[in-house]
């Protein structure tokens, strides 16, 4: 037991510092990917609700393709394919050397792109769930588009979307482990390094298990609190 504390603690022979840094990295890359996903998701949901056929088709294509391929493949495609393509372009322009994307950027983009597809569906569903009468009522009292969005659509949308968004966030947290293939030292990569370097895999993998569990549990509680807060308007109604 004491050797376990020494192994995972913050002493000179302890991996505590590295593990905390890795946990922060997981959090940072997940948050960036989730935020990127919100951008893709908002665009996607807007396109899917559009009257014109072209944006609707494009958004359908996006969600179908991205949800239909493994996320790991998307990461590999961006990380190696993206670097090779960038280098090829640079070489064609006469530059030497390597032009790469770093693991954080690639991970954020790849996981963001994938989560954006799921967020598209969540947001579209939430938008469709807003009773049409409320929007008609807002128009009837003469609200402008912006005011209506701020006072009626956004709060209602948020309320309907939050549970689904909470699920997507958990999914993003777990998918961030895939980014370890780029060498980015987040929880997954760090516990693998620790396991391989000390040959004590059980201690490190079980630590990784708990680190992920801490993140998912805490953020789950946050999402639940947010859901309750957004439900206030429901109770009044």
């Amino acid at each position: 037991m004491s050797s376990l504390i020494e192994l995972l603690g913050f002493g000179p022979q302890g991996w505590g510092h590295q593990l905390v840094l890795a946990m922060l990295m997981t959090l940072a890359v997940s948050a960036s990917a989730f935020a990127t996903g919100i951008c893709f998701g908002t665009l996607g949901a807007w396109a899917k609700s559009a009257h014109a056929a072209l944006p609707r088709r494009m958004a359908d294509g996006y969600t179908t393709v991205v949800r239909g391929v493994p996320d790991l493949l998307v990461i590999y495609l961006f990380y190696f394919g993206g670097s090779s393509a960038l280098s090829a372009i640079a070489h064609a322009l006469g530059n030497q050397g390597f032009f790469g994307l770093n693991g954080f950027l690639v991970g954020t983009l790849a996981v963001g792109l994938v989560s954006g597809a799921y967020q598209t569906e969540v947001l579209r569903g939430a938008f469709n769930a807003i009773p049409h009468g409320e929007i008609d009522a807002a128009r009837a009292v003469g609200m402008s588009g912006w005011l209506m969005l701020r006072r009626v659509v956004a709060p209602r949308l948020l309320h309907y979307a939050l549970p689904g968004m909470g699920n997507v966030w958990q999914q993003v947290l777990k998918e961030s482990a895939l980014i370890s293939v780029t060498g980015l030292v987040e929880i997954m990569r760090q516990v693998h390094i620790g396991a391989g370097s000390t040959r004590r895999p059980f201690e490190f993998y079980i630590t990784g298990f708990f680190l992920y569990l801490i993140l998912t549990t805490l953020s789950g509680a946050l999402f639940r609190a947010a859901e309750q807060r957004s439900a206030r308007s429901e109770r009044r109604a």
Binding site: P12, Q13, G14, W15, H17, Q18, Y76, Y79, F80, S83, S84, S87, A90, A92, L93, G94, N95, Q96, G97, F98, G100, S180, V181, T182, G183, V185, R189, H192, I193, G194, A195, G196, S197, T198, R199, R200, P201, F202
Partner: protein, 282 residues
């Protein structure tokens, strides 16, 4: 009109780029080396986050001889070859064995470590006393291989053998033990060690170098090596520095340094420090 402007702008950018960075043969002053950082004792990470291990110290020695500046990047094992080819780094030192399959896509320096591969089993397992234990068998020698396989067949028949996926040991099992044993592949070597300890597999196959450290770790005292030590064939000539095929100049440089380190005993000293046995290739 708009298209013309765009074309003009693109041409201007291209021209500037060409003028700014004239094409020239790369002179090797700085070399970036990739390693897994999780394959002790070849390469590992210390608790303070710094890389260490046989390959890290050997590289420092080789680069010192060549008077070049070498930096290590720790990256995932699955991405070392794609990363080399994409140009993320210039060399791989990650316990990577020189094999005909890998030589199709990348080039290697001379080997700097060669160990055989064998089985590890639990001490109380019926496989603990396999025939030909400790005997060096070259898989290039067909007659010797056939004899040994015949010796091993009764003991191994129907047993489950764990091995890391995409390794030369997995190739050995698939080429020589197919039908005799059930091969179970794992993403990481320590995973098959865990399953050996949990007795979900009857034996695991890996390099003797790797097993030296496995046996010295907690739980390792319950395990032992068994069966012959295989070399050659799909196991290749040992571990070398992985390089792009185009960089023959870098290969010549590393080869020269490896020969020197071998000749003056540096390699042997480092091998004994990290592997507890001399893994200097012949």
């Amino acid at each position: 009109m708009k298209a013309m402007t765009l074309l003009g702008a693109a041409a201007a950018v291209a021209l500037t780029a060409v003028l700014a960075a004239p094409v020239q043969a790369k002179e090797w002053k700085k070399v970036v080396i990739a390693t897994e950082g999780a394959f002790a004792p070849y390469n590992l990470v210390r608790p303070d986050g710094k890389l260490d291990g046989y390959e890290i110290e050997l590289a420092a020695d080789l680069c010192g001889r060549l008077k070049i500046e070498c930096t290590f990047i720790a990256t995932d094992w699955n991405s070392v070859i794609p990363g080399l080819q994409a140009g993320k780094f210039d060399a791989i030192m990650s316990g990577m064995s020189i094999t005909p399959k890998r030589l199709e896509v990348i080039d290697f320096s001379l080997p700097y470590a060669q160990s055989g591969s064998t089985f590890a089993v639990m001490k109380d397992s019926p496989l603990a006393k396999m025939p030909d234990t400790g005997k060096r068998v070259s898989l290039d020698d067909k007659a010797a291989t056939d004899t040994v396989l015949k010796d091993l067949a009764p003991a191994l028949k129907g047993r489950i053998v764990g091995v890391q996926v995409s390794t030369i040991q997995a190739d050995v099992l698939n080429m020589f033990f197919k039908g005799l044993v059930e091969v179970r592949t794992y993403g990481k070597t320590e995973e098959h060690d865990l399953d050996l300890a949990a007795r979900r597999v009857d034996a695991v196959m890996s390099s003797t170098n790797y097993f030296v450290s496995t046996l010295s770790k907690p739980g390792g005292e319950l395990m032992q090596l068994s069966g012959p030590i295989f070399v050659g064939g799909p196991l290749g000539a040992g571990s070398g520095i992985g390089l792009r095929k185009a960089d023959t100049d870098l290969k010549d440089m590393f080869n020269k340094a490896i020969k020197e380190a071998k000749a003056d005993g540096t390699m042997k000293t480092l091998a004994i420090k990290w592997f507890k046995n001399d893994v200097t290739p012949e």
